[in-house]
Symmetry: C2
Subunit: 157 residues, 2 copies
DNA sequence: GTGGGTGCAAAGTGTTTGCAAGTGT
DNA sequence: ACACTTGCAAACACTTTGCACCCAC
């Protein structure tokens, strides 16, 4: 179901490279394939590991050099979940306005969208003399398990 | 006008230290005074500079060791505005649910609160099996000047 | 052919930490 | 007195970069 969209995301990125006169190398292909094959959030290091399974020649430097291109294209967003390293979210290609709920114990993340919130944001922002370009909303709280058991059995991170 | 509240924030932090059997040293006093004297967001380095004006013996290490205490107390919040370093926001003591609008060009930041958004967040979060502990909403966009002139004359950062 | 791309390892940058000396309670 | 704190500098961890070689177009 998400496949045709994801495929489009990859194509969109290739077009982005073309427009900037940047080259499609085997390493970039491996990295981009990896990014849009997953719906998970990932770190630079994870992306390196996964990409190397497709093309062993991918280096850490190339991953770090490709990530800014991905974010610049708008198809991937850099996220800060309060850890020491950045996470990247490939779901902005399909859902440019989604938000995150994170469990404070197990770090489980659920994504959601809300037209209502988007509308209020827009109103308030205009009232303050701004106009919205992007928006990020993170809610931290307790997941079901944490509420019921007082602690989560599985930790995600 | 904000003074009595800010004073309370400082007192609240001193109580927090006491409860954890931590000591009130001259360095900590200088740092904490600095933090709650401002309503600006600041970096660790700025906090060091400012604190040293009150007490020259404050070291970078002590600043970095005090910041986690401040965030743990809930009176200061760590913020990521997409720069290479963290910012700290001392306004959570008085306004625990405020949000940020940031100009994409000049980095000007405006804070606002919204009961409506808070209510919707709560509803959605419960529907997804979570309960809200904290929340952070950042909107990026164009400020008045950027919209009118196409570029901002003053850069904040 | 040529200008962009790559891997490697070294450098960079914000933050953390081990240690010996100092200090609040 | 004793445990908590401190400053210093070295150590860290993630990310960036200089360079010589490579390859997509």
């Amino acid at each position: 179901m998400a496949l045709p969209e994801k495929f489009a995301a990859k194509e969109r990125f290739m077009k982005f490279l073309e427009e900037k006169n940047l080259r499609i190398t085997s390493q970039r292909r491996a990295i981009v394939d990896t990014v849009f094959e997953t719906e998970e959030h990932f770190t630079a290091e994870q992306l390196l590991d996964w990409s190397r399974k497709k093309d062993q020649s991918v280096s850490r430097a190339t991953v770090y050099r490709t990530l800014p291109l991905l974010t610049e294209s708008g198809l991937v967003r850099e996220m800060d979940f309060g850890k020491d390293f950045k996470f990247y979210d490939p779901n902005y290609a399909d859902h440019p306005n989604h938000n995150h709920i994170i469990c404070q114990d197990c770090d489980k993340i659920v994504e959601f969208e809300s037209e209502k919130i988007a509308k209020i944001e827009d109103e308030i922002t205009h009232k303050l003399g701004f106009s919205v370009k992007t928006q990020r909303l993170q809610i931290t709280g307790s997941c079901d398990e944490l509420k019921k058991l007082g602690a989560c059995t599985k930790k995600s991170c």
